[in-house]
Amino acid sequence: MALDNIVPVILSLIPLALGIVWRYSNGSSTIQKSVGLIVIGVLAVGLAYMWLAWGIEPSILLLASAILLAGFCTLLSQENSEQTSAIHTSVLIVLGLSLGVLLNQAMVSRIFLCGLLGFIAISLNRKQLNTFRTKILFLHISLAIIFSLSSVFVGETLQVFARLFLAVTFLPLAPFHFPFVRTIKDAKGALSSFWIVAWLMTGMGELFQIYSSLTTEMLSILSLLALLSAVYASLASLGQKFNSLFVASATVAHVALVWGLLEVFPDFPRWGIPFGITLAFVMGGISLAFSFIRQRYGWKTLGILPGLASPMPRFGVAMGLLVSFALFLPLFPIFSGLMVMPTIITQDIEIAMTLLLFLVVWLGGGWYFIQMLHQTAFGEARSDVPYSDLRLTELIAVSALLLGATYSGVIY
């Protein structure tokens, strides 16, 4: 086996193995955090080596780096509690599995993907196993596992369909959004932030593999689905009471832009991947900021703890910056897409669909992000809460995600 095939497997197995070991051992969470951060550093060096030695595809490198950064931020900011060890373990396992999906090819990549899907199924809250929604959810995950494995053996057309199913699952479009939403909802502590990045990067990786094989008819259907998904998810975000579901629905609403714009803008890696990473970092950042409040006060419902910017100015600034970024997210793919858009005549219907999609995401985002800001940072602070502002590590974690978003969205 060639070195360029072995190194990605080893890089993926390191965190995975460590995560599995931690899962069945009782280690100190402080040591786990330190070791986890070192492992992420090692993986970053490994990625850099792969890039320099074999010239790994820049888009894949970016996606993998995004997962590493998200993992770093989650580990760094996770406060010590009863759940900390489980969160550290999950971060390393998901990190290994998603890196395995992105960095490897063919069968190896699919095995890691099956592992990731399996871990998602295991991680879900089993209290609601008997509901219809949960049954659908497990059916969805089972189908994804089957498609994942079969995509290696079937013909090219079926392979595209199978991978498309996986792509719409990980880059969630309604009605394929249930596993994503449920994973984010059930995630403990700062883990939801990492899950968002891992999900989207995996989805981006899948789309990257198949975007050139998508036919015009498929793109038209995807565009329509994206529009419907954007309307549904935007309305859901607007009416959302719970913070984790708010982030999940806002993410689904914005992901629709990627799918919708595929029809208008060619060269997906040029505009789609930087946007996907920016989106993941911003939503991950908001989720991380929410988790800080959740860890401190057990806060889950939007609107019951307003005015945080006064007693927690660091949190106010962080949330203000994140919302600022989030509000203008739809502009990133539009302007970078314009750069690669041919100035030949495009069908009117495509432009109309793009406009409608943009309109929904833009206005929806403007509404629900500001509403969320008013329900968290702005307003009058409650006097019965012992406030404590963000710690330095938490501030560094959010800042790192913001810097990452700035790099991928503005500079890259």
Binding site: V181, Y232, A233, L235, A236, S237, L238, G239, Q240, K241, L245, A248, S249, G307, A309, S310, G320, S324, L327, F328, L331, I334, F335, L338, M339, M341, T343, T346, D348, I351, L355, F358, L359, W362, L363, G366, W367, I370, Q371, H374, A377, F378, G379, E380, A381
Partner: protein, 563 residues
């Protein structure tokens, strides 16, 4: 090349310094802001002088990639329009900075306020010096967001936050359209650089085919209309005017900055794209109609207000309507003069209003008219003054303008309509003063007439000067007027209709003052009352938007529960 960059750099630097270090140097916060904006002001004056003698300055700072430079262009275009705007912005900003030193003293958000004020100054300066639509749009967005943040300055106060949100959201509606305009401009003309875009639009006739070729529309018209919606939102034009009157919860310096600077962005945008708009007469007519509607709505709703700051807000809305209407008539340069005059005037009014309110330590209500004396019947003097102002003055101005300033009346009825609306303005001023019983002596009446004559002539003189200064190219300004010329029948009807309305108004006011109800029947009185209720409730437009929002929110809650 360096000096125009410094004009932008100083406020940006001040914003960053105050934002980062403000809490550690509270006593120096204001100094940093004032020094930065004052420096920018002096540099702007120098640039205006230098540019008018040596010609426009155009350079790029950051073309990100060679192939992407046609979109992601960051640079500066300093022509006469930009230089004039820079002087206005920096002068108003400096005054507001100085005013805010005492006004916000002791406020916990003192440093944040100055940081935002400096940042907004930078954003507006960058907006007016943008060399392409991309940079202009980015600054447009930053301005919306910065405006939201400064309107929500007092963020524990929920109504202030809600009104800031309303403003932001309305602007966002306009932004979608603006962005589509940019999208189409790039698609059909392959560039976003102003000069290249104007050239390409003039040389190529591109058509957009809708519904499988059933409807063909000129690409220039479509782009101009879409971009105009952005201007509608930013300059508080009907039907996106609802945000302006509700932004009065913000500190008074913010109101001054908004009414003197930010709200002019729409007028500036139309001026910047004037050569593009001149290629689409139909768009100019639509611009005119929207401006006209806004003038009527703003002026009439202003009459039903009893809050001094809200009155000023509606007055601004009306004035912005005039400004947009002037653009629709092809009088782009005049709109810039109007913008400057109104900006300086309104900033001083707002700063004065804030002081007055603080001095009185009362709610911001208009002074009770009874406090100025008995509410006696209006005397003959009021009506003579009104007659002179509304009937004779515009005619004199019209004749003088024709003979002295050589405004081409035959070729462009736009100029005549403009003068005619000076008449309407005079009527409105007269009506407002009549309402306040201000015309009580010969001295007041004489001063008022003289002042209005003086302003009218200055306005005409300035129009002539500004047209030649901003658009010095031979035939450029005339081309705008010709492109905007209305159909003579429409023009005659407008003049006739407005004259009849003014006359009816005066007869009604006179008969009412004399206690004579000559032909005012019961239903007319009822209509008056209904009209007043309608005006006080702002034609229920706000209510309509609120109802739609509530319906959407109810639907959203259902979706949210099942997501």
């Amino acid at each position: 090349m360096t000096i125009p960059i410094l004009i932008l750099f100083f406020p940006l630097l001040a914003g960053i310094i105050i934002g980062v270090l403000g809490k550690h140097m509270p006593s120096h916060v204001a100094k940093v802001g004032v020094i930065a904006t004052a420096s920018s002001f002096f540099l702007s004056v120098w640039t205006l002088y230098n540019m008018s003698t040596e010609g426009p300055i155009h350079f790029m700072i950051w073309p990100l990639t060679p192939e992407g430079s046609s979109i992601f262009g960051i640079g500066m275009l300093v022509d006469r329009l930009t230089a004039v705007m820079m002087v206005l912005i920096t002068s108003v900003s400096t005054v507001i900075h100085i005013y805010s030193i005492r006004y916000l003293e002791g406020d916990p958000g003192y440093a944040r306020f100055f940081a935002l004020l400096s940042f907004i100054t930078f954003v507006i300066l960058a907006l007016v010096s943008s060399p392409n639509l991309f940079m202009l749009f980015v600054c447009w967005q930053l301005l919306s967001w910065a405006l939201y943040l400064i309107l929500a300055f007092n963020f524990p106060n929920r109504p202030a936050c809600q009104n800031a949100f309303k403003t932001f959201f309305v602007h966002r509606v306009g932004d979608v359209s603006f962005l589509l305009g940019i999208f189409l401009a790039y698609k059909y003309f392959g560039t976003l650089e102003f000069n290249e875009l104007f050239k390409a639009a003039a040389e190529q006739t591109q058509m957009i085919s809708l519904f499988s070729g059933m409807i063909d529309i000129s690409a220039v018209t479509a782009i101009a209309l879409f971009i105009f919606v952005g201007a509608i939102a930013k300059s508080s034009q009907f039907p996106l005017h609802v945000w302006l009157p509700d932004t009065m919860d913000s500190p008074t310096p913010v109101s001054a900055l908004m009414h003197a600077g930010i709200i002019n962005a729409g007028g500036f945008l139309l001026n910047r794209l004037a050569p593009f708009y001149a290629l689409s007469p139909i768009t100019l007519h639509i611009v005119f109609v929207i401006g006209l509607l806004t003038v009527l709505l703003g002026a009439s709703m202003m009459l039903a207000q009893n809050d001094i700051k809200k009155t000023l807000g509606f007055s601004t809305m009306g004035q912005m309507g005039y400004m947009i209407m002037e653009c629709g008539l092809g009088a782009f340069a005049l709109a810039i003069f109007h913008l400057i005059a109104h900006g300086l005037f309104k900033a001083s009014l707002f700063l004065g209003a804030g002081q007055g309110i603080h001095a009185a330590r009362e709610e911001p209500k208009l002074p009770n008219s009874s406090a100025h004396g008995p509410k006696g019947s209006s005397n003959q003097l009021s009506f003579i003054t009104g007659l002179i102002l509304t009937l004779i003055m515009p005619l004199v101005i019209l004749m003088v303008a024709h003979d002295m300033l050589n405004i081409p009346l035959q070729n462009s009825n736009g100029a005549v309509i403009l003068l005619f609306f000076a008449w309407v303005t005079a009527s409105q001023v007269m009506f407002s003063l009549y309402r306040l019983h201000a015309v009580a002596s010969w001295k007041v009446a004489g001063t008022m007439i003289a002042a209005l004559f003086f302003i009218g002539f200055i306005y005409l003189w300035a129009a002539d000067v500004f047209i030649h200064f901003l658009y010095p190219g031979p035939g450029v300004a005339d081309g705008f007027f010709v492109a905007a010329a209305l159909n003579p029948r429409v023009f005659d009807t407008l003049i006739l209709l407005s004259t009849v309305l003014i006359l009816i108004g005066w007869i009604g006011a006179y008969s009412n003052a004399k206690g004579q109800k000559i032909f005012i029947s019961h239903w007319l009185n009822l209509f008056k009352k209904e009209l007043y209720i309608l005006l006080a409730n702002r034609f229920y437009i706000d209510l309509l938007y609120v109802r739609w929002s509530n319906r959407i929110l109810r639907l959203a809650q259902k979706f949210g529960d099942h997501f």
